[in-house]
Symmetry: C2
Subunit: 239 residues, 2 copies
Amino acid sequence: MYSLLVMRIAASSERSMADLTARARIRDAAIACFAEAGFDTPFRTIAARADVSPGLITHHFGSKAALRAECDAEVFRRYHALKSDTLDDPSANLLERLARPGDAALVTVYMLRALHAGGTAARDFFESLVEHVRQVTAESVAAGLVRPSRDEDARARYLTAHSMGAMLVQYLLDPGRSPDDFVASVLTQERGQALPILELYTEGLFTNRRMLDEYLMYVGDPPVGAVVPADAGATAPTA
Amino acid sequence: MYSLLVMRIAASSERSMADLTARARIRDAAIACFAEAGFDTPFRTIAARADVSPGLITHHFGSKAALRAECDAEVFRRYHALKSDTLDDPSANLLERLARPGDAALVTVYMLRALHAGGTAARDFFESLVEHVRQVTAESVAAGLVRPSRDEDARARYLTAHSMGAMLVQYLLDPGRSPDDFVASVLTQERGQALPILELYTEGLFTNRRMLDEYLMYVGDPPVGAVVPADAGATAPTA
DNA sequence: GATCACGCTAGTTGCGTGTATAGCCTGCTG
DNA sequence: CAGCAGGCTATACACGCAACTAGCGTGATC
């Protein structure tokens, strides 16, 4: 009976038995605190949220860096779970999935904060997102919705950096607090910007093909790492 | 003779005479430190860089917040100087100007850091950039290079948030340290992503006009703040 | 049912920070 | 040359933090 419960939990969320302990409570509390208040949240705050004493955190995790690492790993795990959920269900899309309140919102904001903090974790999360965008665009191309690119890899990186960057900027400019509030504001803002996005994605920005054609004349087509004469894309508005 | 020198300095960089004092040295050192190491750089580090004692900073500025505010104001001033330089010279563009090593690089990275830190300063810098992008796109539209948008304001916000966000992401992911190094890497990365940018700006992303047309059918044209039925732009790759 | 071990807590330590204060020292002024 | 004001320094304080240590309690084991 007990083992049956454990098995069901393990099956549904892949959590190990150890997660039923206070150690897991601390980890989850830390994830929530980190997402809401940043990674410099004091031990005391985390401890209070997990209903344990501050010392216990040290006792279990040794140092703050170790706690952080474990939280990163857990969020990473949850993100991949969300991702495969999304990929399995073709009607879903990642933005909506990630902007859903609750667990998903927590994951999103945590990853944003990790990106904000920089370092190895930021790179890992980012690479993971790039990979995901590449998969989704590939599917959209196959479905005939999106034009193929001459360099799918670079495009995935570009789209990811810009999308995540814009989300990050919004997060930083918005005084919004709770993860749920934030993902809600992301959705509304996304809708406020729907028109320029659709315009850009449908009609492009330039009135003629000159710059693209000139670029293609200089360098060979597909995966280009080469340098282009000074300011190829530079006349594009600002940066 | 002395006054002549002062006048030339004042004319060339608009700095007041008071800036020749140690107070200005502290401010400049703080700007450099903030840009390179973040706003939580200790007083002592700033003091060492300015070759003064830590106490002198308090003596001149009162508090750290006041020092920060004065640095923000100074950077803001320098940015606007760069901006009007760029606007006066039609052959120049802001990205190249901001990515030039030296003073401009410092301004760029400082503003990025301010954005990174959030708060009022971040909003002010951002609004300033939006305004600038709006001017540049308006000029490009007038010159027939860029298609007009049905909502120029929203487009300027969109482009600014995404461009600055991407720069910020790159800054966070890159272990790069000095402002000069960073702006150099921005330029090279910009060139590495030139192809997807040109593709997107020239050809768009979608293969057909369906989503845009559907959107336009639902809401009136120009400055739209309205909400669109659930997932209008949602099928766009990721976010 | 006594013992042992482990989860857990309270209190303490040391460090780094921003800020306050008292004094030095240089360079004007009368 | 005396006096003195103000830029400037060095030292000291108070606070918040992570990390450590010793001890309490509870539940499993033989």
